[in-house]
């Protein structure tokens, strides 16, 4: 029973750490995709007196697209028959695509820089709605990060507690082995074995949880509503979790063995 408890403590700690790491990465990926979606639908509109070919000074700009106003002109011609459009010098309209979703401060800077061009007469950033979205995303990101860091810290605290238990459990055996000249790896063999088995069990449980979440209706509905398909490579993620899980277990074992060495 005690042995089961001792296994459960490490497994639980590892599962919480692995889950928080995976959820953190998944959430970041979803956020990135969501930001990308928003960015695709967002652009700054500028009105210029002269044609613009580049705005190289503003590094945040990904692409400059000229807005075709022929249709609008045709419409105006029909509507205002007396209007002689040829006599009016029409300005040039451009749509600016950005590389990343800018913060409100950055957006303000971009607007200022655009306005500093003498030919640019108007800049429309739609900053009010963009700021709301950006702040909401940041709030979600920070909240989820803090939550996951707390889970990971709790997991580490559980592991520290488990190290104390291990020290008591394995102290006598390792001490006797040391008196007979057992090398480091020999003294820790049993501990390494337990730690490795626990890390594999923790990984299996975590992978099970991940697969369950990924196949859940709520998760899939939510993502399809947001029009997001996370592109995390699951094999890579599981490999990463395996490395982290076995790494933590190995380091924990080494700490106990070194701690017991007299």
């Amino acid at each position: 029973m005690n042995s089961l408890k001792s296994h459960a403590a490490l497994i639980l700690a590892l599962v919480s750490i692995l889950s928080s790491i995976f959820l953190f990465r998944l959430f970041n990926n979803i956020m990135m995709k969501y930001q990308h979606n928003i960015l695709n639908n967002y652009s700054i509109v500028i009105v210029s007196e002269k044609e613009i070919n580049n705005l190289n000074e503003i590094k945040e700009i990904e692409k400059i697209e000229k807005i075709d106003i022929t249709k609008q002109l045709e419409y105006m011609k029909k509507k205002f028959k007396n209007l002689n459009l040829e006599s009016i010098k029409m300005p040039y309209f451009y749509r600016l695509k950005l590389k990343t979703l800018p913060s409100p401060k950055k957006l303000k800077n971009i607007e200022e820089m655009l306005k500093s061009y003498p030919n640019i007469k108007r800049v429309l950033t739609y900053s009010s709605s963009q700021t709301k979205i950006y702040n909401l995303l940041m709030l979600l990101k920070i909240t989820s990060s803090v939550f996951m860091v707390i889970i990971a810290i709790l997991g580490f605290l559980l592991i520290v507690k488990q190290l104390e238990v291990w020290k008591l459990q394995h102290n006598e055996r390792m001490y006797i082995m040391e008196l007979f000249g057992a090398p480091f790896w020999f003294r820790g063999a049993a501990l390494f074995k337990i730690a490795f088995i626990d890390s594999i069990l923790a990984l299996i449980i975590t992978v099970g949880l991940i697969i369950y979440i990924q196949n859940s209706v709520i998760y899939n509905t939510l993502l399809s509503d947001l029009n997001i398909v996370p592109d995390l490579c699951m094999q890579k993620e599981f490999l990463l979790l395996f490395v982290i899980s076995s790494g933590i277990s190995f380091i924990s074992s080494v700490v106990v063995i070194i701690g017991n060495s007299k």
């Binding site: 006797i176 007979f180 000249g181 060495s261």
Partner: protein
């Protein structure tokens, strides 16, 4: 006979108290030595210092050509593989069977499990514990645990056996059996035997030497 242990102006002890002061003695290969003295005279401390559990404070303690003063851990582990230690409290691993406990030094030396097991069974036969192979230390009497501890100390044919009060508290049958094992190890395998004991055995027909400890002073009596 070559010198196996050589102490020169040796001081051993703890921060506040020197247990052994300015000791000079030698133990030779194939020696059978009784380390005598009253309780608290420093027998256990001296034994512990020979296998490196208690550090040398001052002077020199050389075991098998290895200087123990400021010895590195790796070198100490190497030295311990060539020693067989019998502890006063047996120090058998509680969660291991007697068989596995006896196999320990051979496993540490890298000998394969089946050879170690065969050797351990042979030795446990000799110490009359063949019927207790699968028992755990807690299931054995003090005398039986001591015999198992001696089997563990000699299984890997060490250069020297260090035994701390190996027969104290044992009944006559167990005590005789234990002493016979030491004699056998010494005479048949040429293993140096050092036994810490508060007194010399009454009847013992083996040539032995005595090193006596008194108030921190070490005297080679024979």
């Amino acid at each position: 006979m070559g010198v196996l242990v050589k102490a020169e102006n040796l001081y051993i002890g703890y921060k506040n108290e020197m247990v052994i002061r300015n000791a000079n003695f030698k133990i030779y290969t194939k020696d059978f030595v009784f380390l005598t003295g009253v309780s608290g005279s420093g027998k256990t401390t001296l034994i512990k210092s020979v296998y490196g559990e208690v550090p040398v404070v001052k002077g020199s303690l050389n075991v098998g050509g290895i200087e123990l003063n400021n010895i590195k851990k790796s070198k100490l582990s190497y030295l311990r593989k060539y020693l067989g230690v019998v502890f006063q409290d047996y120090k058998l691993i509680p969660e291991w069977t007697i068989l596995k406990n006896v196999m320990l030094p051979m496993l540490i030396s890298g000998i394969d499990k089946s050879t170690a097991e065969d050797e351990a069974i042979k030795l446990l036969n000799k110490v009359k514990l063949s019927h207790k192979l699968d028992k755990y230390p807690a299931e054995l009497s003090g005398g039986e645990q001591q015999r198992a501890a001696i089997a563990r100390a000699i299984i890997h044919d060490p250069v020297m056996i260090l035994a701390d009060e190996p027969i104290s508290g044992l009944d006559e049958y167990s005590a005789n059996l234990v002493m016979d094992l030491f004699v056998m190890a010494n005479s048949e395998k040429g293993i140096t035997v050092v036994i810490a004991s508060h007194s010399l055995p009454q009847t013992f027909d083996v040539n032995y030497r005595q090193i006596h400890l008194e108030k921190g002073q070490v005297h080679e009596l024979s």
